[in-house]
């Protein structure tokens, strides 16, 4: 578990502390950043508080309000440390102390500090890779080592990325607040993109450390739930959460025990997580009632249709095609057109699918070649299918996907 030293105390207490850490780390850091106006001070204090908690709680059990205990302890720790530094004439420490003493008064509706923090972490003035790393670090409480492993980046590179990003936040004064109404749609889109990127990084099977990457899915869903709690009136927030839940419901069925990829049509549907499906579908129904469609909601709805089908043959492809039509009208892009062609091929046959993707500017995208190969295979155009599989294989680095494509290629060349 990140940030909390190991403990020889009973497992139950350490499990509880781990749970509190996961649930409350981001909130505690967010509150401390507002109080002291400094990210490093906040992080150090909250980590300190959790380290203290391991000792105290192991001896005395959990306090009535673990989150409150952590925040109070962290605040005291930070104040003590800053006092020591202030007595050494440290200008920053003095400023931070003054700020904490002034205890800023809220204007207008009170927002959860985590919401301010996520908008700071996902500010467009930061590079996307930095947005992702900061969000996982500050809101998720992942260690630099964990984030580096999850994104297959050397640890010093990730450490430097985080330091640089925090330096930009303080240097350029990236604000710590929820954007104004005029800026909100674009800024929220950036936040959702970061959460979805984290999810997808964990969802793509077979590369990197499997366990840590599964954690990324869990972390993204946790962030999605937090956002949905904090912004209940934003339909795309609910849409993204539903999309992640429905995709996660198929995780176990998506790969064989050996890590090979299993296509949706071939998955053992008894392996789908029914609780996640029920939760995701309830959110999709909520979105439908609200009737303010957006790309995440539509993708969630497509996933909900798949989840509804007891077998692949029962899939309502007509409804999926309609949803893709709506998606294409909303966000016309070659990638959406590519995905739509799969539904079209189910409704009108592989020749129609093939015609629909003809000329899409996606030559460098492995999935374009993989889908094209599948249409050609179904049309019994074996030589062309084999060539398309080879193009796809040349363009993916993902082991499970390569392995799947190679099997398909073999079936076309008769090896």
């Amino acid at each position: 578990m990140p940030g909390v030293p190991g403990s020889a105390e009973p497992d139950q207490i350490s499990t509880e502390i781990a749970r509190v850490f996961r649930a409350e780390y981001g909130r505690a850091v967010a509150i401390l950043i507002r109080a002291f106006g400094d990210i490093d001070t906040a992080e150090d204090a909250v980590q300190d508080a959790f380290a203290t908690a391991v000792t105290h709680w192991s001896a005395d059990g959990l306090p009535p309000s673990p989150a409150g205990w952590i925040i109070t302890t962290a605040r005291n720790r930070a104040t003590d440390r800053l006092r020591r530094e202030a007595s050494r004439q440290d200008r920053h420490a003095q400023a931070a102390l003054l700020r904490a003493a002034a205890e800023p008064i809220e204007e207008g509706p009170v927002h959860d500090d985590r919401l301010r923090l996520i908008f700071t972490c996902c500010h467009p003035a930061l590079a996307p890779a930095a947005q992702v790393a900061l969000t996982l670090r500050l809101l998720g409480g992942l260690t630099t080592t964990e984030i580096a492993h999850a994104f297959l980046v050397p640890e010093p590179t990730m450490a430097q990325r985080l330091v640089r990003a925090k330096g930009k936040i303080s240097g350029a004064r990236i604000p710590y607040r929820v954007p104004t109404e005029a800026d909100l749609p674009a800024r929220l889109a950036a936040v959702l993109a970061v959460v979805y990127l984290i999810f997808n990084e964990g969802y793509v099977a077979g590369s990197g450390d499997e366990l840590i990457r599964t954690d990324l899915c869990t972390e993204a869903i946790r962030l999605g739930r937090t956002l949905a709690d904090l912004m209940p009136d934003e339909p795309e927030v609910a849409g993204l959460l539903a999309l992640m839940l429905l995709a996660a419901s198929r995780r176990a069925a998506r790969t064989t025990p050996e890590g090979a990829l299993v296509l949706l049509a071939d998955q053992d549907r008894s392996g789908w997580d029914r609780d996640l499906i029920a939760e995701g579908q309830a959110l999709v129904r909520q979105c439908l009632r609200r009737n303010q469609p957006g790309p995440y909601q539509i993708q969630a709805a497509i996933n909900a249709v798949h989840s509804d089908a007891p077998t692949a043959a029962d899939t309502d492809w007509g409804q999926i095609l309609q949803l893709y039509d709506q998606m294409l009208a909303l966000t016309p892009s070659p990638v959406v057109a590519l995905h739509r062609s799969v539904a079209l091929a189910e409704v009108s046959g592989p020749a129609a699918g093939l015609a629909a993707i003809d000329g899409l500017p996606l030559q460098s995208y492995y999935l374009f070649h993989a889908i094209r190969a599948d249409f050609l295979r179904r049309l019994s155009r074996q030589a062309e299918a084999a060539a398309a599989y080879e193009s796809a294989i040349a363009r993916t680095a993902n082991a499970a996907e390569r392995e799947f494509l190679c099997r398909r290629l073999d079936s076309q060349t008769g090896e």
Binding site: A125, G171, P175, P179
Partner: protein, 118 residues
């Protein structure tokens, strides 16, 4: 409040013809007036073309003078404004207006305080 340097980068070569440039300069003038009215204006300067620049290097007792700008590129710094703003979002709002008016890339960069800190 921190100050931000708002730099306008324009392509090398001749400026646009007067019928295009005129309305742009007029709108930039409006922007400057709004800045002043908001109390956010600190300093503005337009620069003559980079061909008029001179670079000086001193190494020991030797002085080398070269003709032209320090960095040659396809774009050059055409002018800049220093503003004071509460935070980056406020500064970006002002800069966005310049980007819309000029259709040029605008760099927003925080200025260090007198003691060198952020």
């Amino acid at each position: 409040m921190p100050n931000y340097l708002i730099s306008i980068y324009q392509p090398d070569g001749d400026p646009p013809p007067p019928e295009v440039l005129g309305p742009i300069m007029e709108r930039l003038g409006d922007w400057n007036r709004r800045l002043r009215a908001a109390g956010a204006w600190v300093f503005t300067a337009g620069l003559l073309p980079p061909g008029t620049a001179t670079v000086l290097r001193v190494s020991g007792s030797e002085e080398i003078v070269t003709d032209g700008p320090f960095a040659e590129g396809k774009e050059h710094l055409g002018g800049f404004t220093v503003i004071t703003a509460a935070d980056l979002d406020v500064a970006l709002d002002w800069a966005r207006q310049v980007a819309e008016i000029t259709t040029l890339p605008i760099e927003v960069r925080p200025m260090a305080l007198a003691d060198g800190s952020g």
